[in-house]
Symmetry: C2
Subunit: 669 residues, 2 copies
């Protein structure tokens, strides 16, 4: 049964039980389900059954089955309740040719069998020398090419020191990972970092999206920074050996604070938990009656059932941890559907927005409250108290849409007790209908004049004191706010104010296996040269953000130049190798003085959801050695009818320049 | 006029003259042609004319032309006799925004003008800080995307120390390259290596095949190994400043031995020569009459004309060097058309060869003489002199084609004075017609029996002493010789001999910009996962070859396994960074004892031309740091109906495994 009722953690609510043997798969599964687990991770073949590669048998010979019958469970049970484990003796890169050959044959046989059963996934163990696994990679890569639904998950220790803690029979039979790492000599550092094992396999299998990772935790967790490297990787499950559980005062299993935190993070990211090993705890003699509660770790209340199987205690503890994680905010629930979902940026200048798009934006009350505050302060600054009665401030909303900025400006005017005359300029004829209706319904007569025009061409009847606009994209200038406002500033008084006054974009390199694979799925160059608006979720930043381009308004120079070019240097911070799949972009806009709107993580406006970050992909993910310096170039280019970005990496290695001449992605003027 | 009459060096026979200014392009060109040169390398715009980026002009203003009129020369003259030079002041990455902007505008303007003139190429100078040229690269990359015929050539010094010797006005106006390299600090080593400048630009421009290199030589040449790195790159021309010429006893210009050798190598590879700078030599007063000859450098005979322009002396010296290079062998002339031309390997098992293919192969007399020698020695070894009269050796030619091996065997039998009975087994019914005719025409009756059958299925009437075959491909086993011979060995006597007895394949990483680009031109993954037979020409090996797979015949093991797997480690030898575009493959076959057939460079059978090397491409070229260790994996895989290779790199970085499951390239069984 699920660990808890909440539905906001995806599959994380289903916990699994790792079983070393499963001679009777029916009973094994039944017992696991009785304990509360939703699936078992079980060997596909008896883990000690090392068999020679199949040969042509003499006629009439009966070949015994290499594993149990598929009739023992129903198809939905195989598919939903069993994750297979490949045999632990398999070593396709063994120096012994016989073992290597038998291993290759057994691996192919087991994976074919698992696919026959329609298992969700098969868990693979790394080789004794994980960075010398090219044959292994070749077989997996061949198999991956033919898979339609089953996944392959590489099971690796979270760190090589914790690997020895494993209670999995693999660890017992195989060479301990740490020893293997030491044996690798010159590669000791790399070999000691399980992320490198995963990364080499992933590159050899060309980033196949059916290849995932299962992390086996030890009693000692790697540093938080080390663990965070997995945030951008396809981490499918974590394995918790029972041996790493501690015992609380009442004799119940419990995990260290750091383990709990990491687990909570995993749950929130939809990563499943799998328990492994034998029970080291049993229900104390003086157990409270079933359904009673007991003080759990840290004094928390743990529900206790009368377990028939001592592993039940662990499941209950996992359930306790799962239910304990803080509730997801309403906004997060709304955004959940957008996580890591690639959207093309809007082209509001070329296209007319739809009613529902306006509706979504208008729901962001934080944004309009912030605009209201900016207008409010600006009105107070411009009109002294003594002139409040007679002086009328001319305020023009350029790109008024269905009127939220008009309404915000009117609220600001009321609060400030300053009189305003509003022009609402809007080029979308459909939005103009709403505006015209609001003049009547919202009592805007006499104050608001609707102007159905493109702000770059409108012949304004008077000059404005304040120009209010919301033309920003996720990367600040990417929806052509600079070009629009430059066009509109001719009807701004010499001392007039633009709200926003300025905006700056920010960039940072990220790991995001999922986003990159989603871009690759389009199978063309164009999509690798396009920027996407996306609610980044399974990603990991490799360095702090850096400023990219800044625009200020009004821009009173003789010759306006909105092209930009920048070279950024990032010092990558992860404590080991990592991989870069592209760049995340953000903006911070100064609406008026110290009133800002920001989606830049360090200054993100709280509770504002109108903008997701932007993602600039790279055609080829590249390996970033520990502490590497990345040099990144970004350009904002301008043609007669379009504006576009180009981007490239020059350190540690040069990438192609993406999107030359805006061939794949541009914003039309 | 051409430097010489020979046509085997491509465009190298056309020499150019680099002119610093060309106020009167007509006269400049005329003078150059009079001196003997075939084209000039001339500025597109006056090299000192630094102009601001164009802006909208007030109405009625007359804008002066930024350069001379295109009417001065005819289109064929522009296209054939002028190579443009971009302005030397251009610095698109200048810290001065104004200079950077003006530079970008000027560069775009000049390249557009050059394309308008249909020039063959424009020569570009590197920036003051060549590894900080991302803006420059961006503009070139944009322009390259729109070019249909014109090329862009990056002019760089052969070494940074020789760069200072340049007589080009660029060097005078710009910061000297060596100083720039020093200024780059942490990148000093890279910055000091002009190959790195080229390589970064090439990667940023995504290996565009319209981007080439022009090397400017200095008085000091880099080491031979350093220069050889350019063999796999698109080296279009070398510039020879007049300042690096020495003076021989008679007062004529001459070059150092090393310069001469490098130049000869360039000529042979079709690389053009361009003279640069003012004449430092003039015809001695006591000059012999026109058309007389004088002793040139090293006592060689130099024709001397009475020059009107002192540069004529240099041209004559270049012509002398050109005519001096050794004649191309007949075989090289035949092979010239195949240089760097990708061919798909034959599939002789699946397809029947055509008559002309047989004819080409049969022309290779060396090959058949070697086979004859092998059979000859084998006959002598097997039949002692005293049994020569009565004992008849049964010799089967499997895959007899139109009979060259039958003929070679018969010649061997005659020479050895040993009697043979020959079975000529051939599955191609069309070749069988030839064989049957030869029985009559060549007097083979009674000795040769024609067997129209597949050797793997034929039911032989007796067992063979010797099995002769020529089933080898460029990579040894790649045309399924192992599978065919394994199938045929059942009719070989227990002590019978297979000719060949064994064969081994070899591999080495190479630089080959051209081959990689030719593969890329297909624009799909399949072609990157295919091996090609190709007469390697513009390539450079990065490390000595290493053995890959060996097969021995007969193969009397219980269970034949022709799959193979190998991990190779190459220590890359170039004295600086380089780039790997894939691998060259070769074979060495032991026909009998020490009689070998080989296309493996260290042991290549002289004058044999039946096989070109094989090329295994990589999907992405990768940078190889100086002295890097490359780890390469290669597999020979077998399915029910096919055999294929897979290959991958795991060091310094992991590549995808190429051709998983033989999805792109395989040989049908």
């Amino acid at each position: 049964m699920p660990l808890g009722k909440r539905t906001d953690c995806g599959d994380a609510k289903y916990a699994g039980l790792d079983v070393p043997f499963a001679c009777d798969i029916v009973e094994t599964l039944e017992n696991a389900l009785l304990c509360g687990f939703d699936f078992v991770m079980a060997p596909l073949v008896h883990p000690r059954y090392r068999r020679p590669a199949p040969t042509a048998l003499p006629r009439g010979t009966f070949q015994p089955p290499f594993t149990r019958s598929d009739l023992l469970l129903s198809s939905p049970q195989w598919a939903g309740q069993v994750v297979g484990k490949a045999s632990p003796w398999i070593d396709c890169d063994s120096p012994s040719p016989a073992l290597a050959r038998d291993s290759a044959a057994a691996l192919q046989q087991e994976l074919a069998w698992a696919a026959h059963l329609s298992l969700q996934a098969v868990v693979l163990t790394p080789l004794p020398q994980p960075l010398n696994g090219a044959n292994y990679a070749r077989i997996l890569n061949q198999v991956l090419g033919g898979l339609t639904s089953m996944a392959l998950w590489l099971r690796i220790p979270a760190s090589t020191s914790s690997g020895a803690d494993s209670t999995d029979p693999t660890a017992a039979e195989g060479e301990p990972a740490a020893a293997a790492a030491a044996a690798a000599g010159g590669r000791a550092r790399l070999a000691g970092d399980p992320w490198e094992w995963w990364n080499q396999l992933r590159f050899l299998c060309h980033h196949n999206n059916r290849l995932g990772v299962v992390l086996e935790l030890g009693a000692d967790l790697p540093s938080a920074e080390d663990l965070q490297r997995w945030r951008g990787e396809p981490l499918k499950a974590v394995v918790l050996p029972t041996s790493i559980f501690m015992t609380n005062k009442r004799g119940y299993p419990t995990l260290s604070k750091r383990h709990q935190e990491f687990l909570a993070d995993c749950f929130r990211r939809g990563v499943q938990v799998v328990l492994s090993g034998n029970a080291h705890h049993s229900l104390p003699e003086a157990a409270p009656a079933s359904n009673a509660v007991a003080a759990g770790p840290g004094g928390a209340v743990v529900p206790v059932a009368a377990p028939q199987n001592p592993l039940r205690l662990y499941w209950e503890y996992l359930s306790f941890l799962f239910r304990k994680i803080e509730a997801t905010s309403e906004q997060e629930v709304v955004e959940m559907g957008y996580r890591d979902y690639l959207q093309s940026p809007l082209q509001p200048l070329q296209d007319n927005l739809e009613s529902q798009t306006y509706e979504t934006f208008e729901r962001d009350s934080t944004k309009y409250t912030t605009y209201e505050e900016a207008v409010y302060r600006c009105l107070l600054d411009r009109v002294p108290q003594e002139e409040a009665e007679q002086r009328v401030t001319v305020l023009m909303v350029v790109g008024a849409g269905r009127g939220p900025l008009v309404a915000a400006s009117l609220r600001a005017s009321l609060r400030a007790k300053r009189r305003i005359r509003v022009y609402a300029v809007e080029k979308n004829p459909n939005a103009v209908v709403t505006l015209q209706n609001r003049v009547v319904s919202d009592g805007w007569e006499g104050t608001v004049r609707i102007v159905p025009a493109d702000m770059r061409e409108w012949d304004a009847p008077e000059q404005a004191d304040i120009l209010v606009s919301e033309l920003l994209g996720s990367f600040g200038d990417n929806e052509l706010s600079p070009e629009c406002l430059d066009g509109a500033q001719r009807f701004l008084k010499p001392d007039g104010v633009s709200i926003p006054q300025a905006y700056t974009s920010y960039l940072q390199p990220i790991t995001s296996h999922k986003l990159w694979n989603d871009v690759r799925a389009y199978d063309d160059v164009e999509h690798f040269e396009t920027a996407y608006v996306v609610k980044l979720f399974k990603f990991h930043p490799l360095a702090p953000t850096q400023e990219v381009f800044t625009f200020e308004h009004p821009n009173r120079v003789e010759r306006i130049d909105n092209t930009r070019s920048i070279r950024l240097e990032f010092e990558c911070t992860p404590p080991g190798g990592t991989v870069c799949h592209g760049f995340a972009g953000y903006f911070d806009a100064q609406l008026y003085r110290d009133v800002h709107l920001s989606i830049h993580p360090p200054t993100h406006t709280p509770n504002m959801f109108s903008w997701f970050p932007i993602y600039f992909p790279l055609r080829t993910p590249f390996y970033v050695p520990q502490g590497a310096r990345m040099e990144v170039h970004m350009w904002r280019c301008e043609g007669k009818h379009k504006v576009w970005y180009e981007w490239a990496v020059t350190q540690p290695l040069a990438s192609p320049i993406h999107n030359p001449g805006g061939r794949s992605y541009f914003v039309g003027l």
